[in-house]
């Protein structure tokens, strides 16, 4: 089964074997010729081809055609310089395409470096934050740190505790709602700088079902809003406001600056 195609291949190559005295440059052709030499048919084929080749070589070159070869550099053309190569439209197009691909790849890579599990949910909640009116929240004027018990007692939401960095901030309203994926989300409006806080369940690994963890505070920006997200005990906490990361930095430990 393995030998058959090899034999056929060699037979095909032998059919096109060169008939000049020079050995063929191609290794496979040399092998084919070497094997085929043993057969009378191949020897006859070579004699036949050589006879025709000899006849072809006797074809005289007309003098008017010989004149064309007086100048050997007839079709050499102008030597291409680096400048002409670089200004070639094809080279420019390829360069531009490569640049665009490189920029997009770098952007994607940078985006991936800054992303974290739950970043997509955080971005969606920034949109919610920008669209929320105070009338949608239940008035609640307490220190944010005291709301952990409230969420547990009233909504059965465990470990929805405001981190110490924001625990002393006074709140003005609270609500709990289900997001698009049916997850329980808690939203808190603070009196300071129109700050808002969100609690949402941490993203889970689809294979293991375990929450995907990350350390420290991570920033997410969307439509002019910025959020600082922290994950603890399978719950994500996000503090957000309209503005940049610098506006939130004063609340966070200096290592996150």
């Amino acid at each position: 089964m393995i030998k058959r195609p090899l034999r056929r291949r060699l037979r095909l190559l032998a059919s096109c074997a060169p008939f000049s005295d020079k050995p063929p440059l191609d290794r496979r052709m040399r092998a084919a010729v070497s094997r085929a030499r043993k057969s009378d048919h191949f020897v006859q084929q070579q004699e036949f081809d050589r006879a025709i080749g000899d006849l072809v070589q006797t074809i005289p070159t007309p003098p008017e055609i010989s004149e064309w070869f007086a100048n050997e550099h007839l079709a050499t053309g102008v030597k291409r310089t680096w400048r002409t190569i670089l200004l070639n439209p094809a080279v420019i197009a390829i360069t531009l395409a490569v640049l665009v691909i490189a920029v997009v790849s770098a952007y994607k890579f940078y985006e991936r470096l800054n992303t974290f599990p739950g970043a997509e949910t955080a971005k969606k909640l920034l949109v919610v934050a920008s669209a929320t009116r105070m009338s949608q929240l239940d008035p609640m004027q307490v220190e944010a740190g005291a709301l952990g018990d409230f969420f547990f007692m009233k909504h059965r939401l465990e470990r929805y505790d405001v981190p110490p960095e924001f625990a002393a901030i006074k709140t003005i309203g609270v609500r709990v709602f289900d997001d698009e994926e049916g997850q329980r989300v808690a939203q808190i409006a603070a009196s300071e700088k129109r700050l808002q806080f969100f609690f949402f369940p941490a993203q889970r690994d689809p294979k293991t079902g375990r929450p995907e963890e990350f350390a420290g505070w991570r920033f997410v920006e969307h439509e002019g809003w910025t959020g600082a997200v922290q994950q603890r005990n399978a719950v994500c906490f996000m503090a957000c406001l309209r503005g940049g990361a610098k506006d939130l930095a004063s609340y966070l430990p200096k290592s996150n600056d």
């Binding site: 190559l13 060169p18 052709m29 048919h41 072809v56 074809i59 064309w68």
Partner: protein, 142 residues
């Protein structure tokens, strides 16, 4: 390829002129095969003008041990007529193969045919040529 010296000379000059024109425009032919590819298409176009050979189904004879002798008594005009009368792409394969300038790989590059196809075309051409030789230059036993 054309079976006509005047047409062949025109094709040659047109091909070289085209190469010179491209070189003058800073776009010289990329490789030497360009000349053969260009000349091939010009030959095919030229041979479609004027009288064309009728398609003939030749008999096929096994190669004769005295074929060399038969071929030796042919004229180059007879060989030219026979090759130029072959159908395409057999004609191109024969013309390029018997120039003894190209390896099989180069033939596949110029003709865009596969090795198997080139081998088949050459094999049938040899047997048909032998049949034609037997009819044109009959052998006489000494």
């Amino acid at each position: 390829m054309t079976g006509d010296e005047a047409k062949a000379a025109d094709v040659f000059q047109d091909t070289v002129r085209e190469a010179a024109f491209q070189s003058a425009n800073n776009e010289p032919p990329g490789d030497r095969y360009w000349f053969f590819r260009e000349a091939r298409w010009r030959c095919l176009a030229a041979s479609e003008q004027g009288m064309m050979p009728e398609p003939v189904d030749f008999e096929r004879h096994e190669l004769n041990s005295r074929a060399k002798e038969q071929i030796g008594s042919l004229t180059i005009e007879q060989l030219g007529i026979w090759i130029s009368g072959a159908p395409e792409p057999q004609r191109t394969v024969l013309a390029l193969f018997y120039l003894a300038e190209f390896s099989v790989r180069e033939l596949t590059t110029i003709t865009t045919l596969k090795v198997a196809e080139i081998a088949r075309l050459l094999g049938t051409a040899r047997m048909e040529f032998q049949s034609w030789l037997n009819a044109t230059v009959p052998l006489h036993d000494e």
